[in-house]
């Protein structure tokens, strides 16, 4: 049985206890039907041309978890940004972990999605926001809509500036192989509100790695996550994704962001590892004077692969979008950047900027980068650029003449190359954490405090 067939047939059992009259069940049923029609993408699909997703779609994958795995607080704590107070929603193997989380319903909802999906009190929220933004031609979005039951629900009321950042932390316990997780977030920032959210994915080393033959029947886990975000009039969102995973785990992330007039939304994606990581980041601008900021740093090694597909849909006049992605590819790692910008006919006087710079550090590393502009308005400013190269030789020489050895000089330049993307990160502790990860990934000790 193929994975597709297996998932489709799992659906009945999965929804066994569901209230068949609930709108959520309806969404799930429709989604699985659509998924059954289109199935998984193959390499002939232009959207997936450079990412061999089939490789991680083993028929052994399952949406059913066998048992609950507990994790020491010491280990969990490592995954916090640290140094600040924060709201926390922690999911271990897709299941909410109330012990280490910190949620609230006081004047703002920061909680788990299941409590919303299963509670009549929230039926208005469901009918207005749930599953409204997704692309129904995208297999993994459909799959997530079919099977997702848990994730974060964040609802910031009008004019509230949230006092603390929110951390959504997905942890793979490593206790169970073959798991296909389907986390789902719903985030609403009402008019004039403001929030900072950090979403991160981590895996613990799989257990029993000392058993020499355990690798044979071990299937690496796959996380298929989906996030819908609404940024209403004049609201302000900073979203940070940290993907710093083991070589063995894969992530598919679909994020859909709907912005209304005068709003600002930024999304930073830090991709520091994983087997295959695919990000589909979609921004829809619906109103004037919207600003969308998409930034990313990708640092990979070994055989890792990361694919960034961004979409900014300019559907209104006088808006801006700014994309800046940097990639550093070591060893045999590979990457993709595909930046699509659609400008509707009525979206005059917009300014869309896109830049993708890559450093190929490994002899066998490679990257495919492509701007994809579809512009139907005539009075617009759209610019794009990309570079693929090595470190600047004259800069390297300059550093060396100051006594900095070759290895450190290369590290420093690589660090500087990436560091530039962090200027918009307002949260100092997060900035420092990311800088440390970057320095660590590059593998040099920099001669200064980060």
């Amino acid at each position: 049985m193929s994975l597709k067939e297996k998932l489709v047939s799992s659906f009945l059992a999965f929804e066994l206890d569901a209230d068949i009259n609930s709108p959520v069940h309806d969404i799930r049923s429709k989604s699985i039907k659509e998924f059954e029609k289109i199935g998984f993408p193959d390499r002939k699909n232009e959207f997936w041309k450079y990412t061999p997703i089939k490789k991680v779609l083993s028929e052994e994958l399952t949406v059913f978890k066998k048992k609950r795995h507990l994790i020491d607080f010491e280990k969990v704590k490592d995954f916090f940004v640290g140094g600040i107070e924060s709201y926390k929603i922690i999911l271990i193997d897709g299941t909410y972990d109330p012990l280490w989380s910190n949620t609230t319903h006081k004047g703002v909802d920061i909680c788990i999605l299941s409590s919303v999906l299963e509670n009549d009190k929230y039926s208005n929220v469901i009918s207005r926001y749930y599953n409204k933004l997704i692309d129904n031609n995208e297999s993994f979005s459909l799959l997530n809509s079919s099977f997702s039951k848990e994730g974060a629900y964040i609802h910031i009321p009008k004019n509230l500036e949230l006092d603390k950042p929110i951390e959504i932390i997905h942890i793979n316990s490593g206790g169970e192989s073959s798991l296909m997780l389907q986390p789902r977030n719903l985030i609403i920032l009402e008019e004039g509100s403001k929030a900072q959210i950090i979403e991160s994915h981590y895996s613990l080393q799989e257990k029993n790695t000392n058993l020499s033959n355990s690798k044979n029947n071990h299937i690496d886990p796959l996380t298929n996550t989906l996030t819908e975000i609404y940024v209403e009039e004049n609201a302000n969102l900073d979203y940070y994704k940290i993907q710093n995973d083991l070589d063995s785990t894969s992530i598919i992330d679909n994020t859909y962001i709907d912005q209304k007039k005068d709003s600002v939304a930024s999304c930073h994606t830090f991709s520091f590892g994983g087997n295959i990581v695919r990000n589909n980041l979609n921004f829809y601008q619906n109103g004037k004077n919207i600003n969308s900021i998409l930034k990313g740093i990708t640092i990979l090694g070994s055989n890792q692969h990361t694919d960034h597909h961004t979409l900014v849909h300019h559907a209104s006049p006088n808006c801006e979008s700014y994309q800046e992605y940097k990639g550093i590819y070591n060893d045999k790692s590979t990457g993709v950047f595909n930046g699509k910008v659609v400008v509707d006919k009525i979206a005059q006087k917009i300014n869309a900027f896109q830049q993708n710079n890559n450093l190929l550090m490994g002899d066998h590393s490679s990257v495919n980068t492509k701007p994809q502009l579809e512009i139907f308005a005539d009075d617009v400013k759209c610019s794009h650029g990309c570079t693929i190269g090595q470190l600047d030789k004259s800069a390297l020489y300059y550093l060396k003449t100051r006594g900095i050895p070759e290895k450190e000089a290369k590290g420093l330049l690589t660090y500087a190359f990436a560091n530039n993307v962090l200027e918009n990160v307002k949260m100092q502790v997060l900035k420092t954490k990311i800088k440390k990860i970057i320095a660590n990934k590059i593998g040099v000790s920099l001669g200064f405090e980060l």
């Binding site: 560091n419 530039n420 200064f448």
Partner: protein
Amino acid sequence: MLKIENLHVSVEGKEILKGVSLEVKKGEIHAIMGPNGSGKSTLSSVIAGNEDYEVTKGNIYFNNENIEDLSAEERAHKGIFMSFQYPVEIPGITVTNFIKTAINSNLKARGLKEMPANEMLKKIREKADLLEIDSRFLSRSLNEGFSGGEKKRNEIFQMAMLEPTLAILDETDSGLDIDALRIVASGVNKLKNKDNATVVITHYQRLLDHIIPDYVHVLQDGKIARSGDKDLALQLEEKGYDWI
């Protein structure tokens, strides 16, 4: 300290230096003048260890050691410093972090301990004051968007921090207005002592009113065409290079 013997240098197969000899002793200031394209920057790059330039003949000795096979960083560790005619812009790393890394790399290479943070800070302040550098300037990205004058001042700041035994200043005066020139020159003079040496490269006499050389050499067509004392620079200013 520095002894250059019959140096021939080529770049991309083209011979640029055609037999340069020069000796610089500790405590001395030498000026090298010459028209554009005569090979002044080539000479300083070769001393600093730029691998794009190929030494086809001759030798460079630094403190009696042939440095031909030393890398740029090893030469720096031995105390050679070059102020670039065109400093490189490096976005994403601040002047302060850059200089900290440089200082500690040199200490480490010499088998010494890293400089404690407070001592580093004190030294940075002191040298920035010496060159009248604003502290805000130190947290900017290295050379990025700096004016010509700011870049040159930053070069001399690095020199002040690294305290080399041999400093080669390649056209440090170009891009400086008269006030900045005076500040930079007075900085260079204050850093001068009986144990170090300075080679000033310029094609204008005006810097030499502030940094007074013991010797002046004229480089022309890849050779030192004439050497003399500071009066040679004045004569050149008056009569032009054709006079040589």
